[in-house]
Chain length 157, copies 2
Amino acid sequence: MTRTARNANRDDTRDLEVVAVESAMRRLGVRWTRQRRLITEVALGNHDHFGAEELLVLCQRRDPRVSRATVYRTLAMLEQAGVVEGLDTGDGGRKFEHVVGHEHHDHMVCRRCGAILEFRDDELERRQEAAAAARGFLIQSHSLKLFGLCRACRERE
Amino acid sequence: MTRTARNANRDDTRDLEVVAVESAMRRLGVRWTRQRRLITEVALGNHDHFGAEELLVLCQRRDPRVSRATVYRTLAMLEQAGVVEGLDTGDGGRKFEHVVGHEHHDHMVCRRCGAILEFRDDELERRQEAAAAARGFLIQSHSLKLFGLCRACRERE
DNA sequence: ATTGATGCAAAAGATTTGCAAACTG
DNA sequence: CAGTTTGCAAATCTTTTGCATCAAT
């Protein structure tokens, strides 16, 4: 498969995701505007962790008719809807990542270089559920972050 | 044991903790000022999770000669020294708890009433270590928060 | 005395909000 | 058209910073 073919496939997948989000939103009775579509497209197209401001810039690059306020408002909406997930980076900031077509995972955050590694451990998830159940707590979401040094930074020490 | 006797004991313990923090700080070469002592006393005396602003108010109630800036600066110092630990509440805010004489634990945060429950699970800790080791990551600290509804709020639904 | 710590008020960074105008269904 | 959503700028909220003054060692 050529590079462009691969990219085309990825674009197609993303388009499908955007359409899925659109119908979900419409079902909720909210209006599907030009800026909501753009913000959703850019958010889903970004396979990294992005900040709100960063997302604003990426959107404005494609269409300057988007405001910061709308990015924040839409991001909150997408988070509510479970399309994106926000995570505190521990330094007062907040980053987002899209969830669609992406199974749940936790994060390791490198304190030196800022790299974010994703990982997943089913047993961890199960024990969290058990701990919550034992206390009558109903988990809606969770956040597990390990802070420390990534392999590269340890070797560079 | 009478109530006052119990309180007296707790106060004594706290005083010892404050003295321990003082010597640790002095060993680090920083000066032990009136405001640092006060802030440390109040922080260690608070067995709940408190915000920076809240701590400021509690301190000023005992002695108005403390400024917001100093509370923030001291809190950062105490966090560095491992005396208190900060945790993002997921809503942009930050809360602290003291660590001295308090074994490590994780948190469940109620999204409705804001209650914070503490819990601990050794197996959870072990699996986090294992997951990190498998990826060459060195954990310095971690944060596990379960967001959802506490028992009381579920029943109130 | 020296040098670090404090208070104040201003600055900064991130996010939210009021409101008139623009747009969607 | 009615009712949402947007853009803008001002307002919030939390935390940080510059700098003259104060105080611990």
